[in-house]
Structure formats: structure tokens, C-alpha cells
């Protein structure tokens, strides 16, 4: 897939992230947007949604994919996303909060009439429900507790986060293990993607608390 195609996929992901966050009264700044999209990528495995070819890397404020920023810039330029707040921090970096505009809302509604987008949207909704349950202010610590990021963060900026790689200490490995833990002993286990997502977020929350 060429670069343009990868950005197009991220345009969809950003729209779903802002739509979900908006339903909970949340605006996402560029850093929180990266984190939300990262969690959607991670949890895609539970819902059998393939991870994107475009991947996050370890960066200064957590997992980062430049195409997510490109995507939100494109959406803002086209009027699908509104910038509701722009403040400069001490270093002069501009922090902007994004929400979907009316046109953006209509565009997402139109996308959801097509079945091809429903699975990916379902993952975003599941992530949104879990972040709402645990608190949006905890988005950072939840992402920092994700096993792939935990393993790669000490190795420096630029490391590619292969979240589905079950050969390493990754989210993919942990989800496989969590499925086994939950299924153990039951004659007909009912480990749905939603339940696995719930268990995974519970794990992130506990890890964040334990590791302080």
C-alpha cells in the first residue's frame, strides 16, 4: 500500500476515534488521539481486525504514528474536524483539541452504513467504553501499561511497536494468554471480543497501579 493509502486508513481511524470520544463529551488533543488510535490498533486482534501496515513507534509522549497527525490535519483542512482549543505549553509546543464537525459527524454516519467499516468502528467503540469506565484522564497510564510499549520504551525512540507479534512480550501475546486464562476449565467458553477487551483493560489498569 502506498503512503497515500496508509494515510487514508488513518483518516478513517481518526474519524472513528473522535466520533467515539465525542459521544463521551471528550475532545482529544494530538497526543491523546495518538494513544486512542494506538489502543484501537492493539485491540483489533480481539475483533479479528487486521493491524494496519502503518505502525506506531516509540516516541517522546508514547506511541506515535505520523500518519495519524497527517490524517487529522487533512480532516481539519477539509472541515471535518474542528480545533476547539489551542494552547502553547512551556516549550512552545502547540496543543490543540480536536472534535468532529457537523460535516465530520455526517461523514462518519455515512461510512457506518457500509459494512466494511463496522468492525473497525466496533473496536473504537469498545475502547471508548473501557476508557470511559476507567477514566479519560487515565488514557496515558493505560497506554504506558500496554505490554508492547512497556517492552520497547526502554530501548529508545523509533522502535516499531509490533503489538500483534506473539513471539515477544506484546499485547498480542498477552491477549492470547488472557483468552487461555479465561477459557480454562469451562466446557464451552464464551470469551467474546468484548469480554477480552474488558479483561485487557482491567489488566492495564492493574499494571499501571502496581508499577506506580
Amino acid at each position: 500500500m502506498n503512503e497515500q493509502g496508509k494515510v487514508l486508513l488513518r483518516i478513517r481511524d481518526v474519524a472513528f476515534a473522535l466520533h467515539t470520544a465525542g459521544d463521551y463529551g471528550q475532545a482529544l488533543n494530538r497526543i491523546r488521539l495518538q494513544k486512542f488510535v494506538y489502543l484501537v490498533d492493539v485491540l483489533g486482534k480481539c475483533f479479528e481486525v487486521l493491524p494496519p501496515q502503518a505502525r506506531h513507534i516509540v516516541y517522546r509522549h508514547g506511541p506515535y504514528d505520523k500518519r495519524v497527525q497527517n490524517a487529522v490535519d487533512v480532516l481539519a483542512f477539509r472541515g471535518f474536524v474542528k480545533i476547539v482549543k489551542a494552547v502553547a505549553d512551556e516549550s512552545g509546543n502547540l496543543s490543540t483539541d480536536y472534535v468532529l464537525s457537523g460535516a465530520g459527524q455526517k461523514w462518519v454516519a455515512a461510512m457506518l452504513r457500509s459494512e466494511v467499516f463496522l468492525a473497525r468502528y466496533g473496536v473504537a467503540r469498545a475502547v471508548g467504553e473501557e476508557v470511559e469506565r476507567l477514566g479519560w484522564h487515565r488514557l496515558r497510564e493505560l497506554v504506558y501499561a500496554e505490554p508492547t510499549f512497556v517492552s520497547n520504551r526502554p530501548l529508545g525512540y523509533g522502535r516499531v511497536l509490533k503489538t500483534a507479534d506473539v513471539r515477544t512480550r506484546s499485547a498480542g501475546s498477552l491477549l492470547t494468554l488472557a483468552d487461555r486464562i479465561l477459557s480454562a476449565g469451562f466446557p464451552s467458553p464464551q470469551v467474546t471480543p468484548r469480554l477480552l477487551t474488558r479483561a485487557f483493560f482491567d489488566y492495564l489498569e492493574r499494571y499501571a497501579r502496581i508499577s506506580g
Binding site: V150, S188, Q190, S211
Partner: protein, 330 residues
């Protein structure tokens, strides 16, 4: 998967969340299950003066009546021999039926209906989902004490040493579990649910407390259609099965050497049928004579799966410490 201590602990804490695990076994909403267990346990604790000698079960029902279960209603149903009480997650009464209030009865009921159940013997509660035992605990005295360093903790790889610890600290001389009906004649107890259950429950508890790399333990699973006397342990390295048997005489049945082979065959079937299992072990608590223990504890190697360890045949001593001292003097 190689986990850090913090990751293992977080995973262990998550796996200890009964509502999530029970939801995996039944397909029900974990929040509803959580409410049910909380309400049912609270009811037992609040009315323990009335319920302390009673055996009964709360089953999570799917219909809501809106009428909360009261102490009077409970007493009335129990007096009428209706010990299986169906309630909703808020403990609103749905129905009452007569039924077995043994662990086996609860397992059969749960396995058939894929239901959630709190079986109570007084204030001792067994939490079950789809017939699988998740936890047994004294509801009036929940273990809220912070964990202290435990010198008996060992990784599952040291299972032989773990079994030795359990024998030495709990089983030997009936320090932590009663199993003799007649010590002199070496006749074992045969309680409701069978002799096996005495050893199973004790070992289940010990493993749950003392296996350092354990993430989840499940008891009495019937998933593969085999005998229910087994313990399933999940660690980050894989899942392990322990089959518990007894040998000797319980006044009603006698089991000898053949029982060892039967147990091994059972473990073999487990390992062949469930690819998630990476290792199995047969533990036999031996109530036979010392002579039979020494001479008739061999097994048929053809019945042993390659991933099954050699069985542990653990002799149950019936002599008192002074008798042992006398024997040593001679």
C-alpha cells in the same frame, strides 16, 4: 510468554476477578454477575445467625420479580425443603426448588444450565460458574488481610516439592484435614461427595495459595466429559492438570494398584484432548497398609502420557507420633 513480576501480578489480580472469569464460562454480563455475588454474600453474612447450619444455593436467574428476598422468605423456603433459591442480581426472589446442595449437585446443575451459583454450607461459600468451582471461602471472614511473605511459595516446576510441603504441613497426622474414619483399621472417611473430595479440596486450596507463578486455578472441571476430580492450573508457561485419587478402603469402596493406572489413563486422555495442556500429574493419597504401599505402587508405563510425570503415591500415616517413636526405638 516471559512476564515481569509486575505483569504477572497484574494478570493474577485480573484472573482473580470472579465476575470476568464467570462471564467467560457463561456468556453473562460480568457486571450482573458481580452484583449477584456481592448481594448473595452480603445476604448470607447479614443473616448468618439463621443460616449458619443450613445448606442452600443461590442461583442467578434471568427474570426479575422485583420482590427482594427476605430472611423470613428464605427460612420458609428452606423449611419446605426448597434449598435452591433462584434470584436476580439484586437478590429479588424468582423461584425456589428442591435440589442437591452438595458440590457435585451444584456442578451438575451449573454444567447443564451454564448458570452462576453461590452454594453455601452455612457461611462457607462455593462460587461456581457453568459448574466450575471458582473459589471457596468463609463469607463471614473474607481474607482482607494484606499478603505476607510466604515461605511455602514455589513455582509449578517444583510440583514434587509443593506436594511434599502440602503433605508435611497439612496432610500428615491430619494437621489440616481429617481423613481417617478408623485409624486403627485404616479406613478412610467417606463424606458426601466422596473420599477424593477431601484431598482434592485441601490440595486445591494449597496450590491456590502457594504456587508462585499461578495465574488461575479451576477445580472440578467437567469440560472433557471425564471424572470431575481434577485441578487445572494456568501459568504464563502453559496449563497444567493434576488428577487426585485415593487408594485404600473407605468402608464402601476399596482401591488398589489398578486405580493408579486408571488415574494415569485419565490424565493421558486430558493431555490428548486438550492441546492447551502442557503437563499433567497424578497424585494418589494412599490409605492402604504400609506393605501394600511399598509393594503395590507400580504402574503400567503404557498408560502414562509422555507429558505426564511419574505419579506421586503419598502414604497416609495412621500412627501417632508416640507410636512412631516407639517403633523407631524397637
Amino acid at each position: 510468554m516471559d512476564l515481569s513480576p509486575e505483569q504477572l501480578e497484574a494478570l493474577r489480580q485480573s484472573a482473580a476477578d470472579m465476575a470476568i472469569v464467570a462471564a467467560a464460562g457463561t456468556g453473562l454480563d460480568p457486571d450482573i454477575i458481580r452484583k449477584f455475588f456481592l448481594a448473595a454474600k452480603q445476604f448470607v453474612v447479614t443473616h448468618k445467625a439463621v443460616l449458619k447450619d443450613k445448606h442452600f444455593a443461590f442461583v442467578l436467574g434471568k427474570i426479575t420479580s422485583g420482590h427482594k428476598l427476605t430472611k423470613q422468605r428464605m427460612a420458609q423456603e428452606l423449611a419446605n425443603g426448597k434449598s435452591v433459591i433462584e434470584v436476580d442480581e439484586e437478590l429479588a426472589f424468582v423461584s425456589a426448588q428442591s435440589g442437591k446442595v452438595t458440590l457435585t449437585g451444584a456442578q451438575e446443575r451449573g454444567n447443564k444450565a451454564r448458570s452462576i451459583e453461590l452454594l453455601c454450607w452455612g457461611t462457607w461459600g462455593f462460587s461456581l460458574a457453568a459448574g466450575v468451582l471458582l473459589k471457596d471461602e468463609d463469607l463471614s471472614n473474607p481474607s482482607s488481610v494484606p499478603p505476607t511473605p510466604n515461605q511455602w511459595k514455589r513455582p509449578i516446576a517444583q510440583i514434587v516439592e509443593i506436594l511434599d510441603d502440602h503433605m508435611g504441613r497439612v496432610v500428615k497426622r491430619e494437621q489440616g484435614v481429617k481423613y481417617w474414619k478408623d485409624k486403627g483399621k485404616r479406613i478412610l472417611l467417606n463424606p458426601d461427595g466422596g473420599t477424593e473430595r477431601i484431598f482434592h479440596r485441601s490440595l486445591f486450596w494449597w496450590l491456590g495459595e502457594n504456587v508462585s507463578d499461578l495465574i488461575r486455578i479451576a477445580g472440578e472441571t467437567r469440560g472433557l466429559g471425564q471424572d470431575a476430580m481434577d485441578i487445572l492450573m494456568v501459568t504464563s508457561a502453559g496449563s497444567f492438570i493434576i488428577e487426585v485419587k485415593w487408594l485404600g478402603n473407605n468402608g464402601s469402596k476399596k482401591y488398589g494398584q489398578l486405580r493408579i493406572d486408571q488415574g494415569l489413563l485419565q490424565v493421558k486422555l486430558y493431555l490428548e484432548n486438550d492441546k492447551a495442556l502442557i503437563w499433567g500429574h497424578l497424585v494418589c493419597y494412599d490409605g492402604r497398609s504400609e506393605e501394600a504401599h511399598l509393594k503395590e505402587s507400580c504402574f503400567d508405563a503404557s498408560q502414562k502420557h509422555a507429558d505426564c510425570l511419574e505419579p506421586s503415591i503419598l502414604f497416609l500415616d495412621s500412627k501417632t507420633p508416640s507410636e512412631i517413636a516407639d517403633a523407631l526405638k524397637k
